[in-house]
């Protein structure tokens, strides 16, 4: 059975991609998937060579045939997303593709068209196979696209005989986060000791608990605020979530990023040594601990 770990953060900018890339370079036989489809960055470090590309179709979109339209207005009053303009043109940014307009149009003037909303890529990298995607600008939040990335990742992992899928997840707690963590064996949350990161950490721990997924927390830049770091440790202890490691504030991640390398490849220092320790602990959580649901 292929194991899956999803790296998420609640708040953006805490170091998710840095750690995912580091894990990718430390794992022996993993497939990597970038599910932060809205702001995919992992390819900037992994330097993938694409082997195949698939079109992603989102919801079908409504289109009004102006020749048939009698401007009766039923579509406008039926649309709950304000997607039909006064001139009876579909605002594609607002259209959710529900099809109510087509359903109520007495003239049959509205059709629902296939609509390409992004692309999924299967690639190879120096660390193994990689699945990533690009969501079209302004497209619907990528839950569906995330699921397509994960489906391709699972297929590709079976094909290549990988024993682990490392998933870089999106920030937040909504649709694409839920799609990124569902069915994962472990959720790895990266946070930092600031009021906003703590706020988001608490929310995202609840999301993981809601879906009953085993969760560990890593505190990045732990030395910028020692009291807040202690607060996070205490909060995690009370909620049965393991703090799996603490990383110091360091220039290493930015410097490694500028070179397009992982922190592990960039340099051997306290920061990268700690990342390695964290990876060993993650590996043992994944492969040696029996599953124990939290928050029961």
């Amino acid at each position: 059975m292929v194991k899956q770990i999803t790296v998420i953060s609640g708040k953006g900018g805490t170091g998710k991609t840095t750690l995912t890339a580091a894990f990718a370079s430390l794992a022996n036989n993993a497939l990597i998937a970038d599910c932060d489809v809205d702001a995919a960055n992992l390819h900037l470090i992994l330097d993938p060579v694409m082997t195949s590309k698939l079109d992603f179709y989102g919801m079908k979109m409504a289109a009004i045939d102006q020749n048939k339209c009698s401007a009766c207005g039923l579509c406008r009053s039926g649309c709950r997303f304000g997607a039909i303009t006064e001139r009876f043109v579909i605002d594609t940014h607002a259209c959710e593709g529900c099809g109510v307009c087509a359903l109520v149009c007495p003239k049959g003037a509205i059709v629902m068209n296939e609509h390409k909303a992004g692309e999924v890529y299967r690639s190879m990298t120096r660390f193994g196979p990689f699945v990533h995607a690009r969501l079209g600008i302004g497209e619907e939040t990528g839950g569906k696209l995330v699921s397509m990335v994960r489906k391709n990742a699972a297929e590709m992992a079976t094909m290549h005989g990988n024993d682990l899928i490392i998933i870089d997840g999106p920030p937040g707690i909504g649709c694409s986060v839920i799609a990124s963590i569902s069915g994962a064996d472990l959720v790895f949350i990266v946070t930092e000791p600031s009021v906003s990161a703590i706020h988001d950490l608490e929310r995202v721990i609840e999301v993981a608990a809601h879906f009953r997924i085993k969760t560990v927390v890593c505190i990045n830049r732990c030395d910028i605020n020692k009291e807040k770091t202690a607060y996070i440790e205490d909060y995690c202890r009370k909620n049965g979530v393991k703090v799996i490691g603490k990383l110091p504030l360091s220039e290493t991640p930015t410097k490694a990023m500028l070179e397009g390398r992982t922190v592990i490849e960039h340099k051997d220092d306290i920061f990268t040594g700690t990342v390695q320790d964290i990876w060993y602990r993650v590996h043992s959580e994944l492969f040696h601990n029996s599953f124990r649901p939290l928050f029961q």
Binding site: A39, L103, T141, P171, S194, V195, S196, K228, T254, M257
Partner: protein
């Protein structure tokens, strides 16, 4: 005037810019549209009061009238309804509240009930002159946009409105920045920052909203963002340096203009520049 703050990528400093800009103005209204993770009030610490719940209208199916004909499930494009021998079941998390099922039902068996997915809150008192409204998405709920729409219903056009958007370039960001007179894109001077900035620029161009850049944590990283901006005539409105003092204040939840007042003038200057750029002075 409505100024939206967006970023492409998370963690670049949107909330920092939103809050510090709002504090530098008089009489601003601040709308926290990052409803998955509303953070503005962590820096203002206003007492909040709930204005209302936000819900979507989901179907309620009458067992007596339903004949399990399946027309509702056929009409639902979100796979939120399934027809079984025993009747129709709803998967509420998949429902977008569009109403297609009730239109499609030939038996009139579907009525609609409100399902709460989040709420709108506002500041009960206006310390620093800021009126704050924020949306909060309930845990486990996937859809942010209905809350953002409801939140934007509270815009006060007599004030300068600062809109803190969610990260990324998808649906909820569009809902947030629609109708803005100007969009400030906050970025950081790294390859990740530049990559996501370019996506965000495509979005605001597509939506025809005038835009400019604020570079946060200036001094770390490289020159990529600045080079890109100067090659493409994108105005760089402000550079906020990488400064331990700012980082420490941030970690404590203290807006840095309150402790480093000269920055208030810098934000005010930027605001005046925006007024000129948008012909609103």
């Amino acid at each position: 005037m409505r100024i939206a703050i967006a970023s492409g990528k998370g963690g670049t400093g949107k909330t920092t810019v939103s809050v510090n800009l709002a504090l530098s103005l008089e009489n601003a209204q601040l709308l926290d549209c990052d409803v998955e993770e509303p953070n503005c009030n962590l820096f203002l610490d206003h007492p909040l009061q709930k204005v209302k719940d936000v819900g979507i209208r989901v179907p309620a199916i009458s067992k007596d009238k339903c004949t399990s004909c399946g027309k509702c499930a056929e009409a639902c494009r979100f796979n939120a309804l399934a027809v079984l021998l025993t009747g129709v079941i709803l998967f509420p998390k998949l429902c977008h509240g569009c109403g297609a099922c009730s239109i499609a039902c030939p038996e009139g068996a579907i009525s609609e009930v409100t399902q709460v997915i989040g709420s709108i809150e506002k500041s009960a008192s206006h310390t620093h002159g800021i009126e704050l409204y924020q949306g909060v998405l309930n845990i486990g709920e996937p859809m942010a946009s209905p809350i953002i729409h409801a939140l934007k219903g509270h815009i006060d056009n007599s004030r300068t409105v600062i809109i803190d958007s969610p990260p990324g370039t998808s649906c909820p960001v569009i809902s947030s920045i629609t109708g803005a007179d100007y969009c400030i894109l906050v970025t950081e001077p790294t390859p990740f920052g530049l990559h996501d900035l370019m996506l965000a620029v495509d979005l605001v161009k597509d939506m025809q909203i005038p835009y400019g850049i604020i570079i946060n944590r200036h001094g770390t990283g490289d020159e990529g963002v600045e080079d890109h901006c100067s090659e493409n005539n994108i105005p760089v409105l402000m550079k906020i340096p990488y400064d331990m003092r700012i980082a420490e204040l941030y970690s404590e939840g203290i807006p840095f203009v309150l402790r480093m007042p000269r920055w208030k003038d810098r934000f005010l200057d930027t605001f005046r520049e925006l007024q000129v750029l948008t012909d609103r002075c």
